[in-house]
Amino acid sequence: MKNETKVQRKASFLQAIKAVSWAFFGIRKKSDHDHDAATLTLGQVIVAGIIGAAIFVTSVLMMVKLVTS
């Protein structure tokens, strides 16, 4: 476990977005989660979280526009 962290330090940003999207749903596969926990940094998660929240708000808004147009 420890060695792994050294080898594959720092995940891609796409992976952060993926982890956060699953988090919004509230579910994550165990193996994916272990991978996230080993490679994602706190900064990445926070930035992805803020972007995720913005995406959430805009997509709900777009949905509303669609329904009311």
Partner: protein, 537 residues
Amino acid sequence: MAAVHDDHAHGHGHGHEHGHDDHAHGPPKGMMRWLTTTNHKDIGTMYLWFSFSMFIVGGLMAFGIRAELFQPGMQLMTPEFFNSLTTNHGLIMVFGAIMPAFVGFANWQVPMMIGAPDMAFARMNNWSFWLLPPAALLLVAAFFVPGGAGAGGWTFYPPLSVQMGMGMDMMIFAVHILGASSIMGSINIITTILNMRAPGMTLMKMPLFVWTWLITAYLLVLVMPVLAGTVTMLLTDRHFGTNFFNAAGGGDPIMFQHIFWFFGHPEVYIMILPAFGIVSEILPTFSRKPLFGYSSMVYATASIAILSCVVWAHHMFTVGMPVTAQLFFMYATMLIAVPTGVKVFNWTATMWQGSMSFETPMLFAIGFIFLFTIGGFSGVVCAVVPVDIQVQETYYVIAHFHYVLVSGSLFALFGGVYYWLPKWTGHMYDESLGKLHFWMSMVFFNVTFFVQHFLGLAGMPRRVPDYALQFADFNMISSIGAFGFGLSQLIFLAAVVKCIRGGKKAEAKPWEGATTLEWDLPSPAPYHSWVTPPVVK
């Protein structure tokens, strides 16, 4: 030990290697112990007793409310006093009973569960607690000033909150003080969790109770200043000639509601997330299985916390807003039920095929899942705009939030008390008293609040001292339930006092299925625990 220590005290200042011997003094005796303590266990105890006494005060107010509503017509009090009772019942239960109780749990449990010797800022911890009694005093004393206590609802809506007498100022100051206390408590909890974990305790190994408190503390730091800000704006409107919320002066009373609920909705999650944490500790222990989907639980908690900041206007559907806004808040609110549903699923799956036993903590945890789910569903009903336009400001909403707050937060707190009492006191509680407490609470709670759904659907408005004749029967049932529920809490008091006084000696780990760190400590937990941190593998 004492002899060795005396030697050293009267000897010469060769104190370094004995530095930690200061601990061996134990606490000072009498009142000074509690005034000056910086010990997380003492402070936790004070938080818990404070919140219980506020629970009694708020409960007596509820007795008054339900007594007046026992029959139609005005019997016992003036409408103004009735309104003061509803207002202060809400405020005291939210800020005086539920929130401090969770902080009390955090004080006792977080250090023991992460292997830390105490909270990070021990003196600030003392100050956070001792701010509470003056605030409580302000709230209660407001009843005795000219004009009486605030009576415009716990939500402080203007214009009423701008018009009332000095009772309202006292309410505002009380909220300021309580807010300061919460913010300090949260900073303390965050710092403790982030910096003081035992070696090997990575974030993803933390017990779920610790996780939920970490996220709750961030929410508190985010929204308490918003509440403090908006009640300060009320204060300046009242006394310093500003017109933030006065339409005649170019202000906007609706703006208050937006700011208040930007605080208010995250606040309701502040009151439920630590409850989720407690239930997530109890269920695996008594199912003798690890929590199903631990990482999902962490993710779901974080996501609930973030989403809870974008749903606030579901409290304002009848106030008037563009249809786009109504739909936005309706959709967002319904989506937040998804991670909440994930949690209920995980709890159920934790029990699935476990070898379960039904001690009192487990009963409360199962009662929690059952009744909280009902409250979650009535919340989704309220989130549907056309439905909410019918039920807003009716007893339906009262039923909804008592299902999530009483059978949610409060039941989790009761379960947590029974679960950890052996660790706190060193004695086992009386199981039959505990079970009696559970069943009485369960039955009377439902008698009180289930019928309120029907009252609301039939159109009975909330916050009224009198009502139309067709509501008479259900109100009488509800009042009987309320008296029963209130009296049942005396069983709780009896069980706790009995357990403190004595009882069967508790083992270090009285629950065979328990796995978290606090059970490695002896019972009762020593005054200073984890002075040398454990190593977590």
